[in-house]
Amino acid sequence: MIRFDNVSKRYPGSDEIFRNVSFRIDAGEFVYLTGQSGAGKSTLLKLIAATEPPTSGTVLIANQNVSKLKPSAIPFLRRRFGLIFQDHKLLYDRNCFENVILPLRINGISEQEAAKRVRAALDKVGLLKKEKAMPITLSGGEQQRLAIARAVVSRPAILLADEPTGNLDAEYAADIMAIFNAFNQVGVTVIMSTHDALGMSSNQNRTLHLNQGQLHETLTNAGSSKQAHPNNNPSAKELFRP
């Protein structure tokens, strides 16, 4: 589904962020991307989402070489992803409902159908009652959940989350992790970057660790207890029904 072959990235006027990185992520996986601040986690996610081009090497998303895509095709590639940012990137000039409906507008979905899906997504993250609230009135955790609702409302196959729990306390972080796990359970590929162990749940299977421009792959806690695993979440299934 996602494949990096010998990908290097440097920004103009900076040192190489990473060099000759290769990995693949299959559909339905839950992958952590770890490393210290500045290790290039965000940059790697940007390469996947095609918001940054690789300096060399090839990035394949669903068998499409991103560097060879026409600029006009990139928006359609991006619609496969649900993007979640550490700073939420919510729009503070409109209420929660209007924030979440934006991807559906971009996809040209009719207003009626869109409203249904927005409410389903808000319900999924536990914000259904706040659809009329302005994002600024929400707590940090709620804002992050709103950002997740916006990311999943268009039913993307892949969720890319850049330190979604970075600014949250443990309780909120656990909430967010539970939501991600629920989506992963219904077949969504989740790629999540984090710089601390706090954000990780105990049932992870794969970790990509960036250090000094090199990528190391590890399997941690494999086969550990599944207690924290939210079992087949019916509302998540509902949301991702084809």
């Binding site: 503070y92 934006l102 009719s110």
Partner: protein, 306 residues
């Protein structure tokens, strides 16, 4: 298709919603557009009405054809057939020297000096004359007709008393050129004003544009609301300028009609000039669209995700 329509409807709704939220600044921009549209349009109106007035007057200009003193009945009949065949002539009539003589005596009856002078002449000095009205009111066509008529055998002199009309027509054609230049200058001004307004809006919506790009918006999705905003500014501005113009014309018509009555005319400026109003509005819409297209294309080409 329904997606496409949906997208456009949503864009228009969004733009109208934003305009309503910033009603005052929207009104200000529309007012600027309206005033800028008004100036060349009013000037056009004045020149247009003046040229209609001169057309009206020129249609009353005559070519006077004076025959030689020795022209006999035969010559008059010959000239008559030539005139009858000429396709440029609307109508003509003959005033013989006797009729002219009688008219002159009739007219000068009340004026002692002139009638005495006429009586002293004793014999009729006046020639036979044809008075001709042409089909065309165009000064050049009249001039050409006069030249052909002058060359008919037996004609002493052809007089076209339209010099003043020619001068006025020349002035008006300068006026028309001036309108053209003025219209272009104001179009450039409008392009810049609307472009700048849209650029400011793009700056205030930078966040929305960034987020939209990140979740897969195409450039045309970003562009369309701004294009509608430009076009709607133009539309409202155009309509407002029609209102202003109608008000100005109404004010002027009161005094113009007073003057017209003094000259026994029913001339007044037209308030409902549908063609002109349609032209103003569509020009404003097109300029609005183009101005915002330039602004938004520049913004998109320099936009970078970070």
């Amino acid at each position: 298709m329904s997606n496409w329509l949906n997208h456009h409807l949503q864009a228009i709704k969004l733009v109208l919603f934003r305009m309503r939220n910033n009603a005052l600044s929207t009104f200000m921009i529309c007012l600027v557009i309206a005033v800028a549209m008004c100036l060349p349009s009013l000037f056009y109106m004045v020149v247009d009405n003046l040229s209609k007035l001169t057309d009206h007057m020129q249609s009353e200009t005559e070519i006077s054809l004076f025959l030689k003193q020795d022209a006999g009945k035969k010559t008059i009949a010959e000239i008559n057939t030539v005139l009858a065949k000429n396709a440029d002539i609307r109508e003509y009539h003959l005033v013989t020297k006797d009729q002219a003589w009688k008219q002159l005596q009739e007219k000068s009856k009340n004026n002692q000096d002139i009638s005495e002078a006429i009586n002293q002449l004793g014999k009729n000095p006046l020639p036979d004359a044809f008075f001709i009205q042409a089909k065309s009111a165009d000064p050049e066509a009249l001039e050409a007709l006069k030249d052909t008529l002058k060359d008919i055998p037996g004609v002493e002199q052809a007089i076209l008393n339209a010099d003043w009309a020619k001068r006025l027509a020349a002035l008006l054609s300068i006026g028309k050129k001036l309108i053209f230049i003025l219209a272009i200058l104001f179009a450039i001004v409008l392009l810049i004003i609307i472009g700048n307004t849209v650029r400011m809006q793009i700056l205030t919506q930078q966040d929305e544009i960034e987020v939209s790009y990140l979740i897969g918006a195409t450039s045309s999705f970003i562009r369309i609301p701004f294009l509608y905003a430009g076009a709607i500014y133009g539309l409202f501005g155009g309509l407002l300028s029609i209102l202003i113009m109608a008000g100005i014309i109404q004010t002027f018509n009161v005094s113009i009609m007073e003057i017209s009555h003094l000259y026994n005319s029913d001339f007044s400026l037209q308030i409902f000039n549908i063609g002109l109003y349609l032209a103003i509005t569509s020009a404003a819409v097109v300029i609005g669209w183009a101005g915002s297209y330039i602004a938004v294309s520049r913004a998109i080409s320099t936009f970078r995700l970070n």
